[in-house]
């Protein structure tokens, strides 16, 4: 009996020591003294886990905490960087690269990593350590997507039923016969929508899919860069970049201030077959209405009702929502769970007004619906109080990912800084 108690005491001590050591391990990750230059809500802290990775678009974090960064420019001929923290201090010590293409989209689902170029989608098997089994054995899932430079990011997300969703942005502002040209009319119907301006659905287990074998899941979306599968609702959500240049193209209808404040950037809850109305309408969050686009007979006043889906949320104009993530972790306080984080890349066409965005926003959700109020969650990426000209911004948020411990990672595509935001109390 004595022996049994001894063993019990011993083993519980052992467990205690083990617990203590793992928690010290977690505590070893010290935030940067200046919180990586970010302003955060009380209780949150941040660190730069990596710097100068190269212009990083979207990111994915595996179960072991390694970061896969999709690069917009090749780094010694390679377009995906693998970043690892080998000593547990939270900062990246090793960087390796693979894949010979640039692009934006990257995601991990189950034992696979998915990544996109500006035309294709690839799939790589991961081993039990979360490492790529064979870097040279990419399976090509999708080929032949439209890439004409403008709006060519192929962002992606996956559902739980074996499908992958890929954005194909419209290589156009408002489907004019001559893009962005004063006096040029909108094409009716807009032929771009056949192969772009929407979200396409493909299978995760079929090779060499094309437009012909995929499904146009949703249309009328000008340029979606942020998209995420909401697991609570089992539904796709996307963030769209609204159109530009209302004043430049139609100075008689829109003054420079109105043009800087309109149209809204929008987030949509998407069901199969939805049409969000681009290029025929734009959204006006001041009026809460869909407005007829001037290229299609609009005059700044005519609304279009009951034809296209309404946004789940609208944001100020031109801020460029590039990353969307529904938070599922337990590290952050309960109000963040199942709410949406959005990385706003920051505007360029609000001049002469100062630019806006360049921050990460939180959208609280209640009962599967956004509350309608959004808040700036992480600010300070640009290193400027006011960004007058986009080239002045030191960093621009682009991608979001959740780490295995519930930390939020943010990528920057100016220099490739990777931020990690943690809750500390």
């Amino acid at each position: 009996m004595k022996k049994v108690t001894q063993i019990l005491v011993f083993s519980s001590l052992f467990i205690l020591v083990l617990l203590a050591s793992t928690s010290t391990f977690a505590q070893k990750i010290k935030p940067d003294a200046d919180n990586a230059g970010l302003t955060l809500p009380a209780g949150f802290a941040a660190l730069k886990v990596a710097d100068n990775v190269g212009r990083t678009r979207h990111i994915a974090v595996n179960k072991q905490g390694a970061i896969y960064a999709k690069l917009e420019r090749l780094d010694n001929g390679k377009g995906i960087a693998v970043l690892k923290d080998t000593d547990g201090d939270g900062r990246v010590e090793t960087k390796t690269t693979f894949a010979n293409y640039i692009g934006t989209g990257i995601a991990i689902k189950g034992n696979y990593l998915y990544a996109s170029s500006n035309k294709e989608v690839f799939k790589y098997a991961l081993n039990a350590n979360g490492d790529i089994v064979d870097e040279n054995a990419a399976a090509t899932l999708v080929t032949g997507l439209v890439d004409k430079g403008q709006h060519n990011s192929k962002s992606l997300t996956l559902d739980n039923a074996g499908n992958i969703y890929v954005n194909v942005g419209a290589p156009s502002n408002s489907c004019q016969e001559k893009d962005r040209t004063k006096g040029s009319m909108g094409m009716m119907p807009c032929p771009i929508l056949d192969s772009a301006g929407g979200i396409w659905q493909f299978k995760v287990d079929q090779l060499n899919q094309t437009y012909a074998t995929g499904v146009r899941y949703a249309t009328g979306l000008r340029n979606v860069v942020g998209l995420d599968w909401n697991n609570e609702l089992n539904q796709l959500f996307v963030t769209q970049h609204g159109r530009d240049m209302l004043n430049n193209l139609y100075p008689d209808m829109y003054d420079t201030t109105v043009s800087a404040e309109l149209p809204s950037e929008t987030m949509y809850a998407i069901n199969k077959g939805d049409n969000a109305g681009w290029p025929y309408i734009y959204y006006d969050h001041f009026k809460g209405k869909q407005m007829m686009a001037p290229e299609y007979g609009g005059d700044g006043k005519k609304t279009v009702d009951d034809k296209y889906i309404n946004p789940a949320m609208a944001f100020p104009a031109h801020m460029a929502p590039n990353g969307l993530l529904f938070y599922t972790g337990n590290q952050f306080p309960a109000r963040y769970k199942n709410g949406a984080f959005i990385a706003f890349h920051g505007s360029w066409n609000r001049s002469p007004l100062p630019q806006e965005g360049y921050y990460v926003v939180f959208v609280p959700y209640e009962n599967g619906k956004p509350t309608g109020k959004w808040e700036v969650f992480a600010d300070g990426f640009s290193g400027k109080t006011v960004v007058k000209n986009p080239r002045d911004a030191q960093h621009r948020p682009c991608g979001l990912a959740e780490g295995p411990d519930g930390s939020l990672y943010v990528s920057d595509d100016v220099k490739g800084t990777i931020y990690r935001i943690m809750y500390q109390k």
Binding site: D179, T181, G183, D244, W348, S351, P352, R391, D392
Partner: protein
């Protein structure tokens, strides 16, 4: 004889400086008109500081082409637009620049003279005659 020479030198010098002054005035007026066009038609993309938008719209400030001597190229960009995604000073730009073919020859000369003489740029003016000549050859 010496006297006549001095008078001649003085007369020529006054003449030269006077034409230079009227020239400067003409250029200044062209720059001022060009600025108005820039604000309405170009600033949205190329920005108030001429710095463009990284990866999207090319900068005009410190651009080798804007400051360069290939004036035909500049006129052509305005008349035809630019959507070639060429490498510009080591970078690529994803946006499409629309043609501004509705601008008159003088307006094109003005806006180009403005962008060549603003921010850190210092390059010679572009004249109406030059634009006329180049534009007539563009199909």
């Amino acid at each position: 004889m010496q006297r006549i020479f001095i008078v001649l030198v003085v007369v020529i010098a006054t003449f030269v400086s006077a034409t230079a002054q009227t020239n400067n005035k003409l250029v200044a007026a062209s720059v001022a008109r060009g600025k108005t066009i820039y604000l309405q038609r170009c600033m949205v993309c190329h920005q108030a500081d001429g710095g463009g938008v990284p990866k999207l719209n090319a900068p005009l400030d410190a651009s080798s082409t804007v400051n360069g001597s290939d004036i035909s190229k500049l006129v052509k960009y305005i008349v035809k637009g630019l959507n070639d995604r060429i490498e510009i000073d080591g970078e690529f730009y994803a946006n499409a620049m629309p043609a501004a073919n509705d601008l008159k020859d003088q307006q094109i000369a003005d806006v180009l003279t403005f962008i060549r003489n603003n921010w850190s740029n210092k390059a010679g003016p572009i004249t109406l005659t030059q634009v006329k000549q180049i534009r007539s050859k563009l199909k």
